[in-house]
Symmetry: C2
Subunit: 196 residues, 2 copies
């Protein structure tokens, strides 16, 4: 059983997709924009595109009192890798960096930073849009919010999980995910992530 | 006659387009990414999208030894304003910030930073792409490069000016622009920019 307490929270992955540099970080620390941008910078690049997802004080018209992120880290890492690989096949990129913060993220601070660099602007602009859209739809990272009126945690349903994740604990969600993916996918597609 | 020596180099413009905050800076100083991002940040925003144009060490297969930007500042300001206004009509934005560096820009440093913020991600991502595309096509900012093999300044032709700007001085280009725009456009469309 993997819980939010023992996932490894700082993954640095260097992979060579068509000579592209990629990094993935999941961390409980604040995200350092300048650092990620400097990592993507290169004399061969004329363009660095960035998406920063920040904590809003409202959601669906309700005031958000507190926001936290939880991840199923091994699968999140694997899914983000897959999305970066897809983007790198669509556009020639120098770098693709995805950093996601977990735990409590105060209002206006960054929960996610995506940085892509390329020779020309279109590639990195397109890749950043592609990565954030697919990450939100496919990666098991849950946003949990406490609203002013309810005083209760609500899991955000942006991630289109086939199961109802509302009112489940992270442990229950991970358990369900593990059994689901063990059934649905071949072992070599999942790789070592689930065996950590 | 306006030359690169006497243009005002640090414009801060606050305009209320549909309650949107907009800033335009033209400066000979290095651009501060964190500062522009912090200016666009707001508790109502869930998304900050950024485009950074950086100096490459090559162009069209030739090694770039030195790169400089020159602007016809009053018209550049007016054109950028117009592009921001167009973007704000297409997408609800909280902020739109455009900062362009002039003069010598060393390799890997930012010549332009565009930052847009919005409640949801699509608006700011679309607006950043829109602004950089239109800025490159419509705003009188010239990129001049010295290539290793030639040893000569070449004006970059990315800005699709109707005239041939190659092998002309900035003064000549501005002179042509002024007479062209005086002929072509109504005075109230140009506003006070040309009379400064």
């Amino acid at each position: 059983m993997i819980t939010s307490k023992n996932i490894h929270i700082n993954l640095w992955i260097n992979k060579d997709y068509h000579h592209m540099k990629s990094h993935i970080t999941l961390t409980y620390e604040p995200l350092n924009l300048d650092y990620y941008v400097s990592q993507a910078s290169d004399p061969s690049c004329g363009a660095i595109s960035v998406f920063i997802g920040t904590t809003r004080d409202n959601f669906d018209g309700k005031r958000v009192v507190r926001l936290e992120y939880e991840a199923y880290a091994p699968m999140a890492e694997r899914k983000i890798n897959k999305i970066i690989e897809e983007a790198s096949k669509l556009w020639p990129l120098h770098s693709a960096i995805v950093a996601h913060r977990l735990g409590h993220v105060p209002t206006t601070e960054a929960s996610i930073i995506i940085v892509c660099s390329s020779s020309h602007r279109t590639e990195s602009l397109m890749a950043v849009s592609y990565i954030i859209d697919h990450l939100k739809a496919e990666v098991p990272i849950w946003k949990k919010e406490i609203y002013e009126d309810s005083g209760a945690w609500k899991a955000n349903k942006e991630w289109r999980h086939p199961m109802d994740i509302q009112n489940r604990t992270l442990a229950q969600n991970i358990e369900n995910l593990e059994s689901e993916y063990k059934d649905r996918e071949k072992v070599d597609d999942i790789g070592p992530s689930l065996n950590r």
